[in-house]
């Protein structure tokens, strides 16, 4: 299979896994798409570095790009072939589906965060609730 075919297959497989097989349904969650938008930005940065400096090069016979390393166009975004975005999407959806799946099974707890951010907000909300109760 070519890289293009494999990358498309990867996207289809993880979409089917998410919605129909594992039934995690992350693709229907706002949280996923916001996280993905952040991840894609950093993916373009790091992948742009790796491909722009030609640390990694691609075979034009198996990808849509004709092989010239350009910033944008010729099926490249930030120097990297568009197939890399599909590859990354498959990787991220698979990872996050597993993460949520194990969370559901009770491994590693639920949506708890206990950093300073969370503690300050909990304290703030507790104060608000207390002042509401007092008034």
């Amino acid at each position: 299979m070519t890289y293009t075919q494999l990358a498309l297959t990867g996207v289809v497989v993880v979409v089917v896994l998410d919605l129909l097989v594992l039934r995690v349904g992350l693709l229907r969650r706002v949280a996923f798409w916001v996280a993905y938008a952040i991840i894609v930005f950093f993916q373009l940065l790091t992948n742009g570095w790796l491909t722009g400096r030609e640390i990694v090069t691609y075979n034009p016979d198996t990808a849509l790009t004709s092989g010239d390393v350009v910033l944008l166009g010729d099926w490249r975004i930030a120097y990297a072939p568009v197939e890399d975005l599909m590859f990354g999407f498959a990787m991220i959806v698979l990872t996050l589906d597993l993460w949520v799946l194990w969370g559901r099974r009770g491994i590693g707890g639920g949506p708890y965060a206990d950093g300073p951010w969370q503690r300050r907000r909990d304290a703030r909300e507790a104060r608000r609730a207390a002042s509401r109760a007092a008034s």
């Binding site: 494999l6 949280a31 597993l98 639920g110 300073p116 951010w117």
Partner: protein
């Protein structure tokens, strides 16, 4: 390194507790590493992509460069950190919210069969 350094503050400042849940993190990341190592080995064998030996450590496992292995571990970890950070900041549900009352929806709707959905909705509404 870049990815690890930019996501580490998320663990410390937001307290996303990703590194502090090593079992769950390993169970999410290791299968992904396995799948994508296979993909990478196939792609290298089929000559989908090439690495510049002058810009690599030169450490390889068979035809798989060390960098690829690290990449397949670091990127999923960063992805989990990002999702958890979004959740901490926005409180949007991702689907593993507790089924019975508990931390997220304390004491509310524990008896109803749709408690999970309601717990998630309440979590998201806050």
């Amino acid at each position: 390194m870049f990815v690890l350094l930019t996501t580490l503050p998320l663990e410390l400042l937001l307290g996303v507790r990703v590194w502090r849940r090593p079992v769950r993190l390993s169970l999410a990341v290791l299968p992904v590493v396995a799948v994508f190592v296979l993909w990478d080995l196939y792609a290298i064998q089929q000559q989908h992509w090439f690495f510049d030996p002058a810009q690599m450590t030169g450490v390889t496992f068979g035809s798989l460069p060390l960098e690829e292995l690290l990449f397949f571990a670091v990127v999923p970890i960063a992805a989990v950190m990002t999702l958890e950070a979004v959740r901490v900041v926005r409180r949007w549900p991702v689907g593993d919210e507790p089924r019975d009352a508990g931390h997220a929806a304390a004491g509310r709707g524990a008896e109803q069969p749709d408690a999970a959905e309601r717990g998630a909705a309440e979590w998201g509404a806050r």
